[in-house]
Subunit: 143 residues, 2 copies
Amino acid sequence: MSEERPRRLDLGVDRAAVLAANRAFYDAFEARDIDAMSDLWAHDDRVVCVHPGWTELRGWAAVAASWAALFGGPQHLQLIVTDEHVVLAGDVAWVSCDENLLAVDGSATVASLNVFARDDRGTWKLLVHHAAPVMSTAGDDEG
Amino acid sequence: MSEERPRRLDLGVDRAAVLAANRAFYDAFEARDIDAMSDLWAHDDRVVCVHPGWTELRGWAAVAASWAALFGGPQHLQLIVTDEHVVLAGDVAWVSCDENLLAVDGSATVASLNVFARDDRGTWKLLVHHAAPVMSTAGDDEG
């Protein structure tokens, strides 16, 4: 049974590291910090980003440009992230969570999925940010 | 260089298997086939499903109930899936794609991410279906 221990400890460490990466993402987002945001992502053509209501952006160049545009825009958001659930699967992990967005013109909830992969240095890098707006009249359609 | 070949072939096989699983998901969806849908998913508490506009459903019981409710409802959808992009990461893979939904009362586009993991038998099982409605007035908010 003692053999189990290191693995369990590692899982705890990994979970904490993934949660920390997820929180760093939202910190960079709220702070409109493009350098911190850039550091969090893998910089390759695997990355996918769906901002709420947008079509998919694929590849780091398109994703980076979207964050630059958002951070350069007039909208300042306050984000409260709740209900974070982490799933670990080897060198891949994902967090599903709720983003509670507060802006001057109202509030909204977004159901988000953030997929991370561990790179060669052991750092969890963001590969997918997938943000689905929660609608009050939901339930009629599907996809 | 010959050592590279099996790996490249495997990647091709894996990619095809993941795409086949993704298409089987949409086939089951369009056919309203609850047994086929059930077979596709991992049946554990890791699974997450976000139907367009809904909050997250977590765990197989909640996800299964949602498909039963959708398939028992009045809405019959035709689905055309386009722009499938596969990313392989060991025993995990994901597909981002567009769901073009046609119903009697109109059409809609949904940006979806489907995460699969290979089980002990080598079968790719669905762990996450995350559907984000694409809105015509997108771009004002983020999450």
